[in-house]
Amino acid sequence: MSSIEAASRKKGGSASHFRNLSIIRVVASLLLLLGSVVVLFPLAWMLSTALKSDAEVMVNSSLIPKAWAWDNFVKAWNSAPFGTYLKNTVFITVLGTIGSLVGNSLAAYGFAKIKFRGRELVFLCALGTMMIPGMVTLVPTYVLFSNLGWVGTYLPLIVPAFTAGAYYTFLLRQSFMSIPMSYNEAAKLEGANEMQIFTRIILPLSKPILTTIVVFEFKAKWNDYFGPMLYLTSEKQYTLQLGLRTFRGTAGVEWQKFMAASLIVMAPTIIMYAIMQKYILEGMAQGGIKG
C-alpha cells in the first residue's frame, strides 16, 4: 500500500527551499567548505606538529614546519614498546570483530528466518534492555570477571564479543528480513540445510550491513580505552590506546612525538574509513548507528 506508493514517489528533493537554486548552491558549498576546513584543521595541525622538530614545536605556530622532521615517527614509535602494543591491539581487535560478526549474524538469522516458540519474547527482552545505560552493568560485569579470575587476561575484552549484543543483532535482523523468505524455501527444496542457507545465501546478500558492522566493531575495539584499562594489568598486555597514555609524562607532553604516535595509531581507522566510507555512510543513514 503506502510503501509502494512512497517508493514510486520521487524522493529527496528538498532540493529547493528557494527559487534561485544556483546561487544558494554556491553559497552552501562555500559555507560547507569553510566548515570542512574547521573540521579538518585539527587533523592538519596534528600532522604538522608531528613533523616539527623538538626545537620548533613550541615556537613555530605556523602550519608548515620549517624542517620536516620525519624521524619523529620513528622516535615516537621507539619511545615505548609500541610493537608489542600493536600486536596486542591487533589480536584483540581481530578476534573481537570476528566474534561479534559470528555471534550477531547467527542470532540475527535465528530471529529473522526461523520461526520458533519464544522468539518475540526474547527479542522484546533484548530491545527493552537497550535503553539501560552501560554504567549499570559495568560494575557487576567487572566483579564477575574478577571473580572468574579473568582480570589481567584478554578474555573480558574478547569473550563478550562472541555472545552478540542487542544493537548489531537488531540491525542485522532488519537486513536479513528484507531478503525474501522464498530464497530460503527454494534452497530447502534443493536440499540445503539451515547453515548452508545462512552462509551461502543470506550472508553474501548482506555485505553492506556486514561491512558497516565490521568497521564499527573494528573502530570500537581499536579505540577502546576503558576496557583495556580496567582489565589489563601488566604492561606487556597493553594496547596502543594505553600506550598513548605514556606520553602524558610528569614533565609535560612532548607534543611532536605524541602527535606522531597518535597519527600512527589512528592511521588504520582512517584508512579503513577512506576505503569503506560509501558503505559506512549508507549503513549509517539506514540504521542510525551512532559512531
Binding site: R9, G12, G35, M46, T163
Partner: protein, 479 residues
Amino acid sequence: MQEQKKRPLRWLMWALPLIGFALLWVPSLNIGRFFDLTPDWTYHDTLTRSMEYDQLFSRAAPGVRPLFAYHAMMIFCCFVPLVGYAVQVIGAGLAASAGKFRQLKIGDGILLGGALANLLAACGSVWAAGSAMSRAAELAPQVTYHVPAGAAVLGVLAVGQIILFVVNNRARMKADLTYMPMSRSEKRENLKGWAFISPFVIGFAVFTAYPLISSAFASFTYYNITAVQKWYGVRNFTNLFVNDDVFWLSMGNTFYYVFISVPLVIILALLLALLMNTRGPMMGFFRTVYYLPNVLSGVAVFLLWQWILSPTNGLLNNFLAVFGIKGPAWLLDAKWTKPALIIMRCWSVGGTMILLLAALQNVPVDLYEAGELDGAVGFRKFWHITLPMISPTLFFVMVTGFSGAFQIYDSAYILAQDGGPGKSLMFYNLYLFNTAFSEQSMGKASAMAWVLFAVIMVFTIIQQTASNRWVYYEGGTDK
C-alpha cells in the same frame, strides 16, 4: 463444540503463590528495618552482638565466610521471593498481552513463575544454611541460628505448583478441540531457532540480565569489592541525596553539559544537513569529511584537543588572537571547561548530520511542489513541510542524543580524571566510575547507576509524551 471443562482447582493456582508469599516473605519483609536509616547495623542483632562489626564483614578475619553464607541465606530468603514475585507479575502481564503464546494463560504464567521462585528460594536457603551451619556453629557458638523451616515449606509449595500446572494443562488440552500438539517438524524448527540464537541468549543472560539483577541487588548493599557484601537498605540512596555534595555537583555539571550540547549539536547538524541537501558540487566529499571525526576517538583525539585548547600556545587561542580576542584558559579555567567540552562535541557533529541528511533526502518532491502551488516559500516551506517530514528522525536524534550526553565521561576522564579545576568536569558518570574503581564502593556506584537510569528514563518519557504533539508519522501510527 464441546463445552469447556472447568479446570480443576483453579483457585489453587492463585492461592499457592500467595501462600508462599505470606509464609515466607511477609515476616521477613520487615518494612521498618528496610527503611532504617540509623547508622548502626542492626538487621540481625544476634549476629552483630556476637562479633565485632569489622571482623564480621572483612575478609581479614578468616572463617567468617560461613557467617556470611548464613547471612546470605537470610538476604536470599528475603530477596528471592521478591524477585520471584516480580517475575510472576511481569510473566503474567506478558502472557496476557501476547496472545501468540499458545495455551499460556495468566494463571499458568503465575503458576510457573511461582514454582520457579519457590524452588529457587528453597534450594538457596537449604544450600546457604547447610554451608553456614556446618562451620559457623564452631566459630561462633553463642549465635543462635534459625532453622530454615521455610525452605521445606517452599519446596513443597513448588512441587505442588508444578503438579498443578501439569494437571491443568492436561485438562485444558482435552477440553480444547482446536489444540494441535507440536508436530515433529515444528519441534525441529524450535530447536534450530534456539540453537541459532544461543550465543545471543547466553550473552544476554551473562552480560546483561545477570549484571542487571546483580546491580539492582548491589545498590541496596554495602559492597566494597575486597570485603563482604552486606545489606544496607536504602542508605546508599539516602546518603547520595542527603550527604553527598559531589553527587549534586556532578549532576549539575552533567545537566549543564546535556542541555547545552544536545540542542546545539542538533541545530548545527540540521543546518549542515540543509546546506548539504542543496546538492551542490562536492557533496560526497563534504559528507565524508564531516563524518570523519566520528570514526576517530580515544586518547589521541582527547589529547589533541587538550593541545588545541591549551591557553598559551593552543590552536584555538592563537586563532582568536588574530581577531584581537584573548582566549580563556579553557581546560584550566573552571568556568570554561564545560564550554571546551561542548566545542569538542560539536567537532563530531557529522554523525547526527548524516542521519538528518538521510531524512531530508527522503522527503517526497511532490510535497514541495504542492506547497509551492499554495505559495509557500523559503522558511515557510521548511517549517510546514520539511520539519514535520523529518520529525521522526529529529525525535530519534534527540532521544539518543540526550541519553548519550547524560552518560558522558570518557573525555572528562582522559582530560581530568579528578574532575579538573574546581571539579568542574566531574560529570555524573565520571564520579560513578571513580566511586566504583578508585573508592571501590560498588554498592554506592550501583545505586548511582540506577539513579542515572531513572533520570534518563524520565527524560525519555517526557520526550515521548511531548512527541505526540510534534512528531509526524507518515501513513498513520502503525509505522
